[in-house]
């Protein structure tokens, strides 16, 4: 196993008020060469989970519980500087705002080369050559010339690719892509996804892919964790989730996609809105919006058993049922 988050919780301090917990007991794992998608609506805690893994939580935030294991080593148990050294070597992240993640006064090539030097300890000369190679790899035309240019000379899509070159410099073992392609047009997005898929299979890189776009999930992920209000609502293989979601929230999300509706009909909706993180209802956080709700849901927090954290999950789909039959026969 390449990486696992075990019962991860994050706390954020607020001035004059109680701290909030945007991530509450999140567990998942992934193997080398695998893509795990974290899905959910804004405020569900998916970005905070990523920041915690990458060691980039805001000053007021901290990991308040759980473990983050990279190759079996718990990043939370190590001294801060050792944990950060491990992260720097093996882990990298790309966020939505690419231009903001680049240094405006350094050339693109210099920045990528710096990442190579830090991860690999290569000489400046080697790093420079590697940077040009990486920029070519992410599909920038004329990489040698482009390496000498600065972020403001690049378009948004080019900066995003430069960020990806930066992220994959020195072959990290785990890539965290948080809405990395959201701001791009679909045509560019398709190119970047091809690239990530290629790196995944050629370098055995593990990918944590954060998105709200279920189309992207279907096209890129092996496993999916659907998050709601700081917890995982459902965890499943991508084919099983799309064939037969078990958590009512996951079911609602999938049903609201226009692609999964009869043409011209009304879209299925989830009534209400996501509750604010500092005013969560007791019991299951989805209960107030849930069509399958019972008295129990208001009192007792459901555990993530059999893939869905729900007291009244939908019946397993045919795919899951066949597997079970095979096991028992």
């Amino acid at each position: 196993m390449l990486f696992s988050a075990e019962n991860l919780s994050v706390e954020i301090d607020r001035p004059l008020r109680d701290p909030v917990s945007p991530v509450r007991g999140v567990s998942f794992s992934l193997d080398a060469g695998m893509t795990l998608a974290l899905v959910g609506e804004s405020g569900c805690g998916k970005s905070m989970t990523c920041l915690a893994i990458a060691g980039l939580l805001p000053k007021r935030g901290r990991i308040s519980g759980g473990a983050l294991k990279l190759d079996g080593q718990d990043l939370c148990a190590l001294p801060e500087n050792e944990a950060q050294a491990l992260r720097r070597r093996h882990l990298s992240s790309v966020f939505q705002d690419a231009t903001g993640g680049l240094n405006p006064v350094r050339s693109i090539g210099w920045q990528v080369a710096e990442a190579v030097r830090l991860r690999k300890g290569a000489t400046r000369h080697e790093a420079q050559a590697e940077a040009v190679r990486l920029l070519g790899r992410v599909g920038l035309p004329d990489p040698e010339r482009r390496a000498r240019e600065y972020p403001h000379q690049f378009s948004g899509g080019m900066n995003q690719r430069a960020m990806i070159a930066l992220a994959i410099a020195g072959n990290p073992r785990l890539l965290i892509a948080d809405e990395a392609t959201t701001a791009l047009d679909v045509t560019l997005q398709a190119q970047i996804l091809d690239l990530i898929a290629d790196l995944r299979s050629s370098l055995g890189m593990g990918v944590i892919f954060v998105t709200h776009d279920l189309g992207l999930v279907a096209q890129t992920a092996d496993r999916v964790a659907v998050m709601y209000a700081g917890r995982i609502a459902e965890r499943a293989d991508v084919a099983d989730l799309f064939a037969a979601p078990r958590h009512p929230y996951a079911h609602g999300l999938l049903s609201s996609l226009p692609e999964r509706q009869a043409q011209g009909g009304r879209l299925a909706t989830i009534p209400g809105t996501v509750p604010p993180i500092d005013a969560l209802p007791g019991g299951c956080a989805f209960a107030p919006r849930c069509p399958r709700v019972s008295d129990r849901c208001g009192q007792e927090m459901p555990e993530l058993a059999l893939g869905a954290a729900c007291h009244h999950p939908l019946p397993p789909g045919r795919a899951a049922a066949t597997i079970r039959e095979r096991e028992f026969s």
């Binding site: 047009d185 996804l193 189309g215 999964r260 909706t269």
Partner: protein
């Protein structure tokens, strides 16, 4: 029947950078010869990549920015100049809803005041504001709240309610659901469709999201670097797009079904700088089917039985 909205060879350019004493400033044609019609009660979806001019087009048809040349007619009469009394009067009948709902509202005024404002401007009875709130599915108590107390989906409902108070015939929707979460997106899409059914409004629905457009539009127009390259009834467009650019766009949309993985979608490279569009067919540097003719000669938007497309090679390619 006359069309509700008709645009004829519409053009709009913006200055890029500054000119000097001996140097003319460069201009960039955001909308470059667009013609389209929108009938009453109909939804025309306008799609394209960022920078294709779709948002500029939506401002032009409302008269919010003046066009350089071409003609816009609304309900058979030419669109009056922006700011004139006639234009103000006409604006009752055409409203705009755009992506940034929070930015469209005043943070210091209550929701009720803001919804009633268009009524005050047009000397209409303020009771309509209450009705509008109900029409978009918000409780009356919401009127006393301020924008920061509302969620993104609720804010977009408020903006739609405000537009509804004047009972417009045309609503221009520029990415109305793009900023919203999936589950909320579905709520707003349903609302938009219900309102159209109840009131027979026409929608100019501008979006980069081809699956939403598939759901709401009757016809689709694809824009590329300021021009319409294809326009077709929805069913025809989504089952068999004619233009290579439309095909590439459709193929690039990630389908939410893991069973469709591994389809080889055409990779068409980066869009060119819109300020310096290529010669000939503007799509030719990215087109897998480009020939010498495409490099030199700009294709006209031709009729193909109820649909239009601008490509030299459609006949050959569709064989």
């Amino acid at each position: 029947m006359t069309a509700l909205l008709r645009a004829e060879d519409l053009r709009k350019s913006y200055q890029v950078g500054r000119g000097g004493l001996f140097r003319r400033a460069r201009r960039f044609n955001a909308v470059d010869g667009v013609s389209l019609t929108l009938n009453r009660g109909e939804t025309l979806g306008v799609v394209g990549e960022s920078g294709c001019g779709k948002s500029t087009l939506s401002r032009l048809v409302l008269g919010l920015s003046p066009h350089d040349s071409g003609e816009i007619t609304f309900d058979g009469a030419p669109l009056p100049d922006e700011g004139s009394d006639d234009w103000r009067h006409l604006r009752r009948r055409m409203q705009l809803v755009y992506q940034d709902a929070a930015g469209a509202l005043d943070p210091r005024q209550s929701i009720g005041t803001q919804i009633a404002e268009p009524l005050k401007i047009h000397n209409l009875p303020p009771e309509r504001a209450e009705q509008a709130l109900a029409d978009v599915g918000l409780p009356q108590a919401m009127a006393a709240r301020h924008p920061h107390e509302l969620s993104g989906g609720q804010l977009q409902r408020v903006v739609i309610a405000r537009a509804l108070t004047l009972e417009p015939e045309l609503m221009v929707m520029d990415e109305p659901v793009s900023a919203l979460d999936v589950s909320i997106q579905a709520q707003i899409v349903n609302l938009i469709q219900d309102l159209q059914q109840a009131r027979g409004m026409a929608y100019l629905f501008v979006s980069h999201d081809l699956s939403i457009v598939h759901h709401v539009a009757d016809r689709v127009a694809v824009m590329y670097l300021g021009q319409v390259v294809e326009e077709a009834p929805k069913a025809a467009f989504y089952t068999r797009a004619l233009h290579p650019y439309s095909k590439a766009l459709l193929a690039a949309v990630p389908v939410p079904d893991p069973a469709t993985r591994g389809r080889a979608a055409p990779r068409i490279g980066d869009p060119p700088n819109p300020a310096a569009p290529p010669t000939g067919c503007r799509f030719h540097p990215r087109c897998p089917h480009a020939t010498e003719q495409c490099r030199v000669e700009a294709p006209a938007l031709r009729d193909f039985g109820g649909r239009r497309a601008a490509c030299h090679r459609i006949e050959e390619l569709s064989q």
